[in-house]
Amino acid sequence: MSADSPIAEIGETPLVPAHVTAAFVSDEVSRVTEQKAPVGWWMVFGVALMFLGVLLVSVGYLVWNGIGSWGNNSPAAWAWDITNFVWWIGIGHAGTLISAVLFLFRQKWRTSVNRFAEAMTIFAVICALLYPTIHVGRIWFLYWALPIPNQMGMWPNFKSPLLWDVFAVSTYFTVSLLFWFVGLIPDFATLRDRAKNVVRKKVYGALALGWRGSNRHWRHYERAYLILAALSTPLVLSVHSVVSFDFATSVMPGWHTTIFPPYFVAGAVFSGFAMVSTLMIICRQVYGLKDIMTMKHLELMNKIMLVTGSLVGYAYSMEFFIAWYSGNEYERYVFINRATGPYAWAYWTMVTCNVVSPQLFWWKRLRTSIPVMFAVSILINIGMWFERFVIIVTTLHRDYLPSSWGMFHPTLVDIGCYTGSLGLFFTLFSLFIRWLPMIAMFEVKAALPGAQPSHHAAHDEHAEPAHGALAVKEA
């Protein structure tokens, strides 16, 4: 009996019900892209498109009129722009985490969510990239941040954390995209081979790169997949660390802290999983994929949220402790101001959403209730946005010299640029759901009970350890 099969003694149950076979998986997943889109899809897509319009208008106005169209000011030179940037980047992290980290940890349950999560990563990073782009005063000179030879003979300043960001985030985006596409190749082949009409055959055929399931290919393919996973794992940790450097390396009280990198990564994973489960819950309702994205998957994700949520909570309290312990009056004031100042409402919203709400997941009944987990996942998304808002604005608006203290008030354009990015995200996501296999079929198939040769222990010691999701030593 193979080790990856559930251990009944400790109450483990199979990830998917017995009637789910390889064929079932292909049919179930592919039909989504083959049949007409359900009303639910059109509703989501329509609304998303509308907000995408809002984004285009807001950004257009912003670029035409100047950053002054936002509420940013001195002292709050950064506000919603960077808040949204960090928020989206954070959301992106869950995808990579699920597809890479869980892969290395041999968590076979990831198979039914990783495609989905990776797609989310890509779209979230696209939204994130929007903000550093449009938040600069002279967007038409943005390329000066890249090491391109130019008439000024000048180079970017590699000491600036913002420049580290440029490299980190673009690397992250590229690698995620590659990872995603590599994963899609065999499934494109499936769609190609199922395709009835020529266009589908041609398009998916082209994307499948002529994949023919050859084992000589699988050999390199799986090695590439393993290496990408191994690369993405430190990458995903580094990206949010670098993002946190934007703050940690500054001299601003409330930013200048060593706890930021781990704290940001935990927060990123936290918010990412929240977004994944929000989307999953919607999709499995709309497309009835309950057999593949099972309650067990959701429950496992909720457990991760409980863990990361508590990590974030720890970071919050540790910040306060250090502020008090440091004896630095500026540092102390910032945190007193966060909890009691004019932005206390934002701070306490953050704590309630991020620390309190996930504690519900201690109870199995709540952990496995769709409405509860949906509500909590939404709350976490809100809370994590506020976390970034609190970190950025409450630090800036009252720093060293009281003479230059001020307040930040968002404008319509601020709101447009934020809600608009949600529009962009869901537009891309709806298109993904509609035209691409939202579940990694070949990985699920490989993870099904009996998908692997059972009696084979004898002569395959030198077998590939890292087969997709089910790289498991035979017992």
Partner: protein, 185 residues
């Protein structure tokens, strides 16, 4: 595969199987029979198949290592030259060629180039993309991406023999054996 077959020549034998166990046995059979230009097609990577086919370990890792080293070197050279040599500026009172601030970008470029190495190296080793392959002439072959397993033995294999090979494959309990032919002008 085209219908009006003028004159045809065989290209590959396709043997179809239903279960991973069956295919892995068959693969061992073909391997032991000493064939070389043959392959196994499965909807997902089947465990132990490399051993069953007697394939060596993938060399992709070396390519990636090379790319990774290129990445880190590129980063160091770029930063040192740009900020330290070509246009040194006093930034925040720190030395223009300060090392610590280089680290994040060194890491990022390493990862980026390694990733390129992994993906394009894999495609290279697999000679992909290749949209035309004899196995596609078979109408049954489509099922490989669904839930069926195939063994293909190419006519180029020096042990290939229209009869012997067919017998071998049938002896290996394949559910269906097909000789795929292509037209010759």
């Amino acid at each position: 595969m085209s219908e009006q077959a003028t004159s045809k020549r065989p290209v590959v034998y396709l043997a179809e199987y239903d279960s991973p166990d069956a295919i892995i046995h068959a693969a061992e059979g073909v391997r032991d029979a000493g064939y070389e230009k043959w392959d196994v097609h499965s909807p997902y990577p089947v465990h132990g198949m490399d051993a069953a086919m007697g394939l060596p370990d993938s060399g992709l890792g070396w390519i990636v290592l090379l790319c990774g080293l290129t990445g880190v070197t590129a980063a160091v050279v770029m930063i040192q030259w740009m900020n330290g040599i070509d246009y040194p500026l006093v930034i925040g009172g720190k030395p223009p060629d300060a090392i610590p601030s280089m680290v994040p970008i060194m890491f990022e470029l390493t990862v980026l180039l390694s990733a390129f190495g992994a993906v394009f190296g894999m495609l290279g080793l697999n000679a992909l993309p290749r949209h035309h392959h004899p196995v596609f002439y078979s109408d049954r072959f489509e099922a490989f991406s669904h839930d069926k397993f195939f063994i293909s033995i190419e006519v180029e294999d020096k042990k290939f023999d229209k009869e012997k090979t067919k017998q071998l494959l049938e002896s290996l309990h394949s559910t269906h054996v097909e000789l795929v032919e292509e037209e010759v002008a």
